[in-house]
Amino acid sequence: MTVSSNEAPAQSGFSLRALLIRQEFILFVITIVGVLLLATQSDKFLTVDNILNQGRLVTEVALVALPMTLIIITGGIDLSVGSIMGVCAIVLGYSWKNLGFPLELAIAFTLVVGLVAGLLNGLFIVRLGLPPLIMTLATFALYRGLAEGISQARSVRGYPDWFFEMGQKNFMSYEKGVPNQLIIVVIAAVIVGIILARTPFGRGLYAIGNNEMGARFSGIPVFLYKLVIYSFSGFMAGMAAWIYVSRVSTTRSDMGTGLELDAIAAVVIGGTSIFGGSGTIIGTVIGLILIQLLKNGLALSGVKGDSTTIVVGLVLILAIVLNNFIQNPPEWFKRRFASS
């Protein structure tokens, strides 16, 4: 069991200690403990089927949480992702049903619209220096309004069977197995994780978050980088729209409501500082897993209704309090710790 590594004495060197106090590790331990506790409450919880199914349900949030991590690392935020998902879902249905696009083209068009919606955010933020919070608050309302306006809140149904492959079937169409969309999430997470950790682009994002002026002077194309991440965010929201429509087999203009808050919560629980400059994809992934399994596990152990969100809220705040405490212990604690 992985928990045992927690009891390893911290004397064996600097790197182990550094690992132990990393937020990702602490989170990982919390997640494992939480999962084991919940597993004692319901024997339906810790089964392969259930875990895979949860992967299917968390896909949309996960897809937008990845670019959200990058954006928050640069000190920005994107509140419009839920609305972009809404407008993209509508564009998918509308361009297929009303404009007569072939469905394949409609999907591609949807992704382009998502990209453009994100790009628009990026352009205003970069060219006019609007705070990301304001800009994406404006498009939060605007894009949702377009979704409602274009569709007149009518839903589009009746997609062909192959379209549901993505959202409702498993890999290689096995009866039981890994949901298709989960594979996309995993691939996306690995790619984004590598880009963030191992490329100049990734390092540039941290630099922007730490000190934007400094980053600019050291030759990082700050504007370009920002355009890229906001566009990427829009693109992933479009992707989420496609997968979600495929999962629920209809389009509605209210799709994606509240998605932005779920994604931000996962990113922040995952240890990314809301002030920018630090954070990892691994953290976000653990954050996503933690929230989803907590909600699911509580529901399966008989907790009713939305009261599971209480736990999510508490974990969100406590994770940050705990992390602050460990990264930056108060004076009295350090004194005590040093003397013992």
Binding site: S42, K44, D49, N50, N53, L57, Y94, N98, L120, L123, F124, R127, L128, L142, G145, L146, G149, I150, S151, Q152, A153, R154, S155, R157, F164, Q168, R247, V248, S249, T250, R252, D254, M255, T257, G258, N296, A299, L300, K304, G305, D306
Partner: protein, 380 residues
């Protein structure tokens, strides 16, 4: 650069205009495009809707789904989960009360009432999914979206879980039976007839609905449109406004209608159990009681003050307690195998025998009209 930005904003707005122009409306705002079936005219006087009396001559074949390899639980203890559109509004509290009543009577059914706090399709799907994993014997639902909910219901059927809907239907093949509270044309007729009784057959009126696409509401408006077109062509349709299912929005929207049409408006229809009392509130607070009739679908408790003050003459609804009650009885009968495809009626405890209509729907009965005389006798 400012020009560039301006151009971008322009593009966005153009996109919008395209959408606006392309969305043509053939029926009244808030109505759907499905076929309508208006009932016979009431010959000038309002009568309680007699939806059950006008049955189609030949019953269509069963078009519901089937639970796959459901275990034989005849007479055994079963656990059923009830997931309405949302929890925490009077209407679904009443249906939940009905499910518990039925469970207590039957003795071998446990009903869990659960659900999202907002009428959100994604939340509702997640709730049902979790209960499938938990392993219940039956799912009762009221769908937020008939299509979006279908995949998860089919998953339940495939897992051998029986699925029965009430209040808001899903695609027929995604559930076994649907307990229909009252036929849409019956409700529509009762509403229009009430308006005509109060304000005559050339009254001008507005509608406060939840959203233009909520399935039940848009069905009712369609049937109202059809029935009025057939029987009272002189009625003047002013406007439909949306208020989601929110008190404040309903109140504000009703006020805006009253202000916009001034003396002209003689009636307001509330299409939801939230819109009706708050429209009545708006009319009362504007001092227009008697001048503007409020008619609508609502539960009795919030309507009592308005009915007692004579501001509202009649409230149309079925009994939601009975609806939840019937749903549990239907579920029990399905599990026991006593209610099968092809049957034409089902026994539902104190409600007696209920008829099967439209292939796979169980009809609760005619719409009920609450008024000053009888409203005191109901508490939900």
């Amino acid at each position: 650069m400012a020009k560039k930005i301006f151009a971008l904003v322009l593009v966005v707005m153009l996109l919008g205009v395209v959408g606006m122009v392309s969305a043509q409306e053939t029926r009244w705002d808030g109505a759907d495009d499905l076929p309508v079936n208006p009932l016979e005219c009431a010959n000038g006087e309002a009568a309680p809707a007699d939806a059950a009396a006008t049955e189609a001559p030949e019953a269509p074949a069963y078009d519901g789904g089937m639970a796959v390899n459901a275990p034989d639980l005849t007479g055994a203890e079963i656990t059923v989960v009830d997931i309405p559109k949302l929890v925490g509004i009077g209407y679904f509290n009443a249906t939940a009360q009905g499910t518990q009543e039925a469970a207590a009577e039957l003795g071998n059914v446990t009903v869990i009432n659960d659900g999202p706090t907002e009428a959100n399709i994604d939340d509702q799907i997640t709730f049902i999914d979790n209960y499938i994993t938990q392993g219940v014997n039956g799912v009762l639902f009221a769908a937020n979206d008939p299509v979006a909910i279908a995949p998860v219901l089919q998953k339940a059927l495939e897992a051998g879980i029986h699925v029965v809907g009430y209040d808001a239907n899903a695609q027929p093949d995604a559930r076994e039976w649907f307990v229909n509270q009252a036929e849409f044309n019956g409700i529509a007729k009762a509403l229009i007839d009430s308006l005509v009784t109060e304000k005559g057959d050339s009254a001008a009126f507005g509608i406060v609905t939840s959203t233009f696409t909520t399935p039940n509401q848009s069905r009712w408006i369609s049937e109202m449109w059809a029935y009025a077109g057939k029987c009272y062509p002189n009625l003047k349709w002013l406007e439909t406004v949306e208020a989601q299912e929110d008190s404040k929005l309903s109140f504000d929207q009703a006020n805006t209608l009253l202000n916009k049409y001034g003396e002209e408006i003689q009636g307001l229809f509330g299409m939801t159990s939230v819109a009706t009392p708050n429209s009545a509130d708006a009319v009362t607070q504007a001092g227009l009681c008697g001048k503007v009739a409020v008619i609508g679908l609502a539960t009795p408790n919030p309507m009592k003050p308005f009915v007692e003050s004579d501001c509202v003459k009649s409230v149309v609804l079925w009994n939601p307690v009975d609806l939840g009650y019937a749903a549990v009885y239907v579920m029990r009968a399905v599990v026991d195998g006593t209610f099968k495809p092809g049957d034409t009626e089902v026994s539902a405890g104190r409600l007696g025998m209920l008829q099967v209509v439209n292939g796979s729907e169980v009809l609760l009965g005619p719409a009920f009209v609450f008024n000053k005389e009888n409203i005191g006798g109901f508490d939900f």
